[in-house]
């Protein structure tokens, strides 16, 4: 499904961070969002997911024909928006199995008629696909997981929730090459249909495995450059200084 952001202004109550973002990811495409530290990439991810800490002062966000702008975080999720967190929190006391069962049930709107055995089969096969030990099902969510395990758990959730649109917030940071391949495999699995995605990254590396249809570059709360995948190589070769100049 497509994601359309129009003139989005948002930030913390005393600080505007996103200063008028307009961006469209057409249905079925994967776009990359790059930019130097502090450019507002993670803020954008959180604002799109409906984080209550951020205030949206202008603009609209739409996913397909659903206007997300006024929806709360859980309503966005149930409409099919997914955020893979840069730093997934640890949630002691709630097992992966119980958490995911409920999340899937809510997403599918199948309260009361949820097929538990079907869910377990699906979960086991998704875990196999992600190369995750079945033992994770009974562990507390993210508690004591390594960085790579947390990121895989994010992608596992994405596969299980089958979103219409997913934002991956620096899912590649801190991953070794094997973990990166598995994460990319998860994203690529959903590609092909109407699934759309915005892959936020600081590095070129993940884009070798998840080929973006288009690349956007963000500097100081503005999209300063959008274009084909070639931009990635140029950024890799020349750094971010020249795009910072474009902003001026």
């Amino acid at each position: 499904m497509n994601l359309k952001i129009t003139n989005l202004k948002a930030g913390l109550p005393d600080k505007e961070i996103l200063k008028g973002i307009s961006l469209e990811v057409p249905s079925g495409e994967v776009h990359a969002l790059m930019g130097p530290n502090g450019s507002g990439k993670s803020t954008l991810a959180n604002v799109l997911a409906g984080h209550p800490q951020y205030e949206m002062t202008a603009g609209t966000i739409a996913m397909g024909n659903v206007d997300l702008t006024e929806l709360e975080a859980h309503e966005r999720a149930r409409a099919g928006f997914f955020l893979a967190f840069q730093y997934p929190v640890e949630v002691p006391g709630i097992t992966v199995g119980k958490f995911l069962k409920r999340a899937v049930e809510l997403r599918r709107g199948e309260e009361g008629k949820f097929n538990v055995s079907g869910y377990i089969t699906e979960l086991r096969s998704a875990m196999d696909f992600m190369g995750m030990d079945q033992g994770f099902i009974n562990r507390y969510l993210n508690e004591g997981f390594s960085g790579g395990e947390k990121k895989r758990m994010e992608i596992l959730q994405m596969l299980m929730l089958n979103p219409n649109f997913a934002v991956l917030d620096e899912t590649d940071s801190g991953l070794d090459i094997d973990a990166l391949r598995i994460v990319a495999k998860g994203v690529n699995k959903l590609r092909g249909g109407k699934f759309g995605s915005l892959v936020i990254t600081h590095y070129q590396r993940i884009l070798d495995y998840v080929k973006p249809d288009k690349v956007h570059v963000m500097v100081e709360g503005h999209i300063v450059l959008s274009g084909g995948p070639d931009i990635v190589n140029e950024l890799e070769a020349r750094g971010y200084d020249w795009v910072k100049e474009m902003k001026k």
């Binding site: 997911a49 409906g50 984080h51 209550p52 800490q53 709360e72 975080a73 859980h74 966005r76 999720a77 149930r78 955020l83 967190f85 997934p88 929190v89 949630v91 002691p92 006391g93 709630i94 958490f99 409920r102 999340a103 809510l106 997403r107 507390y140 959730q157 929730l161």
Partner: protein, 425 residues
């Protein structure tokens, strides 16, 4: 002629006032402020339940389906027996489960007198003065019971019983292994504005090398007042695991003494409590180390809603002879909104060197990052709060298994669903 305990308790009851704010243990549970005037006097003067109920020969046996879930099932009402079921399997192990009137308490219970009246208050004395008897479980030496013993107490609130003093006494013989689950419920009948008092107690002794698990589920009605005094004693290399869950009653005041009498003994105390609007929950524990190389651990967690108040007072006491003690005490509270109050008072009193002891307590709100994480996965805010609260409290259930674990997880889930309604209202 009543036994020593009852006679002594009656004298104590007459000589002591209701505990007031000058008594440190009761300072935060100021009965005069928390209860309408005369509530306790009225309950203490209410007639004892009819003694005809005590005739064990007239008891109806419980259903055969019990055999699948339990070894022994004792059902009492207002502390008096209604039904006792002992499975064939249980009989074969030699386990004794019966109800005994206060006149004929076993020697093992009478022997605890010094501990029971070590630092008595009127509420404790009231329990022993009025208890009609006790459900008694004696596990023979070396017997390993692979299914739990269930004891279910229902206070029928028919307008007559304003007070009950149920008691459970357990003796685990050397090398034995057993699990007891005691459930305290209220019947569905309306209380018609009355405030019945349940003043309960558990005594348990674990002989050398035995393993005793005791779980208490307190699910009384909101109008009810619950007092509880427990005493566990562990002999050499014995292990006692105690869990208490308080998901009912508007006023709860408990004290559990864990006496580590034998070298190498171990006692683990766990508890969870919910304090909703206008509820007052005051939990006390003592880890009393009297022998070397004993291990104790207390973990208590509570969730307090706006308008609720919880108190936890825990003491680790290490006596002169208790070298190489290993003792921990943790109390964590979750404050679910403004106007929730949790007092936490962990203390150490160490009279010997060469020990490892620590205590810690925290009181805080739900983590906003965790809340957002769950919401980003579709959990509505109220459900996210409830799931995190449940996860927080469920840590105290980690030592439970099988039937006990299932029961307490269900109790917690149901209580939290009800609790969310209080918070909203």
């Amino acid at each position: 002629m009543k036994n020593n305990l009852s006679a002594k308790a009656a004298k104590l009851f007459d000589s002591l006032p209701w505990p007031g704010p000058d008594n440190e243990a009761w300072r935060r549970t100021h009965l005069e402020r928390l209860l309408p005037k005369g509530t306790l006097d009225a309950a203490a003067a209410s007639p004892p339940p009819g003694t005809s109920l005590i005739d064990a020969s007239k008891l109806s046996p419980a259903g055969a389906q019990d055999a699948e879930t339990c070894f022994v099932r004792i059902i009492t009402s207002a502390g008096c027996p209604q039904s006792i079921y002992v499975s064939e399997e249980a009989r074969a192990t030699g386990v004794k489960a019966f109800w005994e009137s206060a006149e004929n308490f076993p020697a093992g219970l009478e022997a605890l007198e010094n501990h029971l009246f070590h630092n008595p208050d009127r509420v404790q004395a009231w329990h022993w003065r009025n208890t009609p008897g006790a459900a008694i479980v004696q596990i023979p030496k070396g017997a390993c019971l692979n299914k739990p013993i269930l004891i279910e107490e229902t206070l029928s609130a028919d307008g007559k019983n304003l007070f009950s003093a149920p008691h459970v006494h357990i003796e685990a013989g050397g090398g034995s292994e057993a699990e007891i689950i005691w459930s305290l419920h209220a019947s569905e009948a309306s209380l018609q504005g009355q405030r019945p008092v349940v003043n309960a107690g558990i005594t348990g002794t674990a002989e050398a090398n035995s393993k005793l698990r005791v779980t208490l589920r307190q699910k009384l009605k909101g109008e009810m007042i619950f007092f509880l005094n427990n005493l566990f004693q562990a002999e050499r290399d014995a292990l006692v695991l105690f869990m208490e869950s308080h998901t009912g009653s508007s006023l709860v005041k408990t004290h559990t003494s864990a006496i580590l009498d034998g070298e190498g003994s171990e006692i683990r105390l766990n508890g969870l409590y919910l304090a909703g609007k206008d509820q007052h929950i005051d939990i006390g524990t003592l880890q009393d180390h009297r022998a070397p190389r004993a291990v104790s651990d207390a973990l208590y967690k509570g969730a307090v809603y706006p308008g609720g108040w919880s108190v936890y007072q825990g003491l680790i006491q290490v006596q002169h002879d208790a070298a190489k003690t290993d003792a921990y005490l943790t109390n964590n509270n979750l404050l679910l909104g403004d106007g929730a109050r949790a007092d936490s008072l962990p203390q150490l009193n160490i009279l010997t060197d060469d020990v490892k002891c620590s205590h810690g307590s925290t009181s805080g709100k739900l983590d906003s990052a965790q809340l957002f994480y769950l919401q980003s996965r579709g959990f509505p805010p109220v459900e996210a709060e409830r799931a995190l609260t449940e996860g927080f409290l469920a840590e105290t259930l980690k030592n439970l298994r099988g039937h006990a674990a299932e029961l307490l997880h269900t109790d917690l889930e149901l209580a939290l669903k009800a609790g969310t309604v209080w918070a909203d209202g």
